[in-house]
Symmetry: C2
Subunit: 383 residues, 2 copies
């Protein structure tokens, strides 16, 4: 039996290193374990290191830090590069490949698996899901999302509380979230809302267009009624008839961002008040103090499960979280075909969750609130 390689790809999350930790902690076989550096780029360029000694310690020390301890990032593959990658695996006698990532990562892993077959190289491939956007299909949710949703929910509630206290100075804040083409994270912003008067007062998701006139009309009413308005908009949402707002295009990938600024300008123009736009930025996927303990645990468990599936000889699969019940929260882990995941496009927020946000927050609750044993520190009255 050859070696095993593990890599991380795409944008990191606050808990992606826990999947590596879960994997390494349970890796008891005598097969050599390699870490692939900087995702698929490292696979193509042969940048793989034996995870032992000081290297292993360094990776293990970063288990509770955000970012990706092996390096991740973005790297576009083509057939030629995939061939090169497989030759690198052959050269090192690596016969099992585990990658942690989202849609793009799984589609790429599926292509690598097919190419290996074509080249008659017996390669076992296993994907571990990861995404803050929660747009990965064939799993109830993916590690990384719970912590990001927890950040967004707290940031929105807290920014809204802050704004309410400043109503004689500023009246409108437009908060922009991550999510690409799916509204999961943006919709999570309302999770901690208790009363009508609290923010977020409006949430815009990519699944539905923004009607500019309706936005201005609603905004005026909200400011009139409550004094201030906290609005949340997903980076992927767009005004009817307009393109998504991009901040850059890097290596052929659109980096979304800026719709909050567009809406802020509309607010300033039509309400004549002081409005701010706030992009919640990279803290969403990395802020360590907002890590959901359940999210962290699931990331770890999936890493551990990957070891089991490797030993069982499973291949061409992505690990998946199946939810049995929400209250009490109960899940089991299983596998789905990589091919099936690769075929699916980004998973959007279902209509039922957009139309019935209560149902969405019930679904979301165990991912943020982490079960009965978790004590919410800001509700403790210690003094």
């Amino acid at each position: 039996m050859g070696g095993i390689a593990i890599g991380q790809a795409g944008g990191p999350t606050a808990v992606i290193n826990m999947s590596v930790a879960g994997f390494l902690d349970h890796q008891l076989s005598s097969r050599p374990i390699y870490g692939v550096i900087n995702g698929y780029e490292g696979l193509v360029n042969g940048n793989m290191v034996l995870l032992q000694g000081e290297v292993l310690s360094k990776v293990q020390r970063r288990r509770d830090l955000p970012g990706a301890s092996l390096g991740a990032g973005r790297f576009a593959l083509d057939d030629e590069k995939i061939e090169k990658a497989i030759k690198n695996l052959m050269k090192n006698n690596i016969t099992s490949l585990v990658f942690i990532g989202g849609n793009g990562t799984m589609a790429a892993l599926n292509r690598i698996s097919k190419m290996a077959s074509k080249m008659n190289y017996p390669l076992q491939t296993i994907g571990i899901p990861k995404t803050v956007d929660n747009d990965l299909d064939e799993t109830d949710h993916a590690p990384g999302f719970g912590s990001a949703a927890k950040y967004v929910a707290h940031a929105t509630r807290d920014i809204s509380c802050d704004l309410k206290a400043m109503s004689n100075f500023e009246q409108v804040r437009i908060i922009e979230t991550m999510g690409r083409n799916a509204g999961w994270l943006a919709m999570s912003s309302g999770y901690l809302k208790k009363y009508e008067e609290d923010g977020p007062h409006l949430i815009y998701v990519p699944e539905k267009p923004i009607y500019a006139e309706k936005f201005i009309y609603d905004l005026k009413n909200i400011v009139h009624e409550y004094g201030t308005a906290t609005i949340v908009v997903s980076e992927g949402a767009s005004i009817l008839g307009q393109e998504q707002v991009e901040q850059a295009e890097v290596k052929g990938r659109k980096v979304l961002g800026g719709i909050s600024s567009t809406l802020k300008d509309l607010a300033t123009e039509h309400l004549g008040c002081f409005a701010r736009s706030e992009n919640l930025g990279m803290c969403q996927r990395s802020f360590s103090l907002a890590v959901s303990l359940r999210d962290r645990k699931e990331a770890y468990e999936l890493g551990k499960k990957a070891v089991e599936y490797i030993n069982d000889g499973k291949t061409d699969v992505m690990l998946s979280i199946f939810r049995e019940t929400g209250f009490p929260y109960s899940v089991f882990y299983s596998t789905v075909s990589l091919e099936k995941v690769a075929e699916k496009a980004e998973r959007l927020l279902p209509v039922k969750f957009i139309e019935n946000t209560g149902e969405f927050y019930e679904w979301l609750s165990p991912l943020i609130s982490e079960g009965q044993n978790w004590k919410n520190p800001y509700l403790e009255h210690a003094f």
Copy 2:
């Protein structure tokens, strides 16, 4: 003896409501207690409510939330308005006035006290310090700063970890912090830095000009050496020979913001790489999951102390935190003259802390790390 009024002014913090809680929890006298709504605006417009029954419960329920439970905000005073404010106090027979705020709040309270004397109205005035910028003089530090510094330190460390994993996609992130003309918060961003290769690689504070050419030169070297660069800049910092960057002017007050975008443009132009600017925004002063327990406790203690000083008949004072020793952390509370606080300008970051950041982080440590009993959750290896 007449009634007592308490108000909050300026931008809120994550713990400003704890000062109100500390005050109300220990207010055992039979004197009526009023809450001033929306800071000095409420005082001038006679918007004060008796803190009892449902109103009191509502304020107490918000003790652990950010924002200001009584409303705060900005309101410029002149002699005419101050006279009006004092007449409102007279009308309600309020003879003690407590305000929680920063530089502007203390200066205004001092003016109110002088005008009351002039009008022969016996008014007791007590200020409770609060600022995330830490630019209030005559106190070791002010409540609100510790939590904001904790947020900035974690955000910077975490964003830097995230960026390191993305080095094949983006190379530069410029993080902008609050702080107005003082660099306390920006400098706090380096508190969790462990190794040279980690961010922040450069910190720009308002106390020193930015040399554009030097910035580009340093940035190139950092990216060359480490692959990525995480740079922190205070909203009040500016390029030599240029004005501070403003995002708006509201009610005659400059709202700073945008220098990170200027630096990002320089990075893009001269390095030709993908750079992002990130304004940490309102989460710095409100994010509930980053509240420092020591900061929270001190905010509460100062509210409690204000009750004592009222009973002792102290007036024209601001409460102050005196640090006896850093390790073990030991402080006592006392008072300083409001007049003296009002005379002082914004307290800048001392040269010794700019030149010797180690000394600064030692000073900062107990405000963020909250003592021996505090367990850093992301360093626990529970799995």
